[in-house]
Symmetry: C2
Subunit: 211 residues, 2 copies
Amino acid sequence: MTKRLRADAQRNRDDLVAAARTLFGERGIDVPLDEVAHRAGVGIGTLYRRFPDREALIEAVAIDTVGRLTEIAETELSAGPDAWTALVGFLRRAVELRIGVLLSVLTPQLPQAAHGRPALRAARQELIGLLDRMVAGAQAHGVLRTDVGSGDIAVLLSMLVRELPGLPDAVADAVPVRFLELVLDGLRTRPGSALASGPVTAAELVGDGEP
Amino acid sequence: MTKRLRADAQRNRDDLVAAARTLFGERGIDVPLDEVAHRAGVGIGTLYRRFPDREALIEAVAIDTVGRLTEIAETELSAGPDAWTALVGFLRRAVELRIGVLLSVLTPQLPQAAHGRPALRAARQELIGLLDRMVAGAQAHGVLRTDVGSGDIAVLLSMLVRELPGLPDAVADAVPVRFLELVLDGLRTRPGSALASGPVTAAELVGDGEP
DNA sequence: TCCAAGTGGATGAATTTCCTCCGGTTAGTA
DNA sequence: TACTAACCGGAGGAAATTCATCCACTTGGA
């Protein structure tokens, strides 16, 4: 196993991965590494010492993210009364934490080398298994439509979590959870479902009634 | 009015705006202008002659886009039997053409100056009016949930149209329409609704069963 | 036919991003 | 408490990207 890090070094490493996860998710995989370092509250030097190149950082983020999602999925599956509840819980928590799967599952731009790195492959496979279980289970119970698959869930999560630039902060913050509920329920009127927040009007989006 | 352009020049101008609209939508407002020119099949020089700076191009795209959406909305509203049908038609056509509103309606990064340019303000106001009409109408008929507003529609459209990098082409192409239908219907099983394409599995997303 | 209008892309400037290097700091052990 | 191996931060030059001009050549249309 790799040498054990000094306490502060480990802390910084974790902060870096966390910062990278957020920034990668929000702004894409090619945010300047300087920004990642800054957001983590460490110097650029520190980042480069820990992760020799961008690819290494991406891989670390991927593994970390898949791990978190797997944990969430496991928790929900074992705690929830049924697969659908687990699926919904999984999505809610992932969205709340702003964790998209896509990056971690297929890590688009990840050079083939890293893409297939065994550690990542294994972790990914495990997550996919859990996703499939939730989807299949919910479909078996007849509550999840059968024309969607686990891949749809992955894409959905990524779409929801991705930041839309230019929105007023209040709106931007609410969007992911808001739209998750919308996708779950659909736009059509349906008894018993109501969004937590009120309607967003276009005028409010523009933010200038009469400036 | 501004001087009339020579035929070929006008054609190039249109191509530029079209290329910019697509690229802005897919990759954000700060794609390199070189790429816009290339995609439009013209030289960079041509772009710069027609649009002195990025802001001018953005404004042109915004006006053009709002115009197109307005036209679609008008068509659907007058042709459709009711507001809900019009709204759905509007969304379907906009998604099909990959036209997001957000950019054009609130043009996030647009410097205040241009953001408030009268031509754009007026066009935007008109579009917002139409959106509100569709939303309010559909709600009055009881078919659209009342906890969403025209702003939600704008955000939705932008989310759907935005490209998710790294997806297999086939999936990427299908995503916008696929998810529009999902949002309209919801993930829950519902009689009589079926997606045009089959489920997308996570494995298929990753693209490597056993490579 | 003729030329004002238009074209493209080579090119240097400006900006952004990368990533090394090293003087100073600190965790952790004895 | 003292010592040192490990770690830190960020200045700054190299490299890459993007901007935006300029001009020799082409073309639409009167």
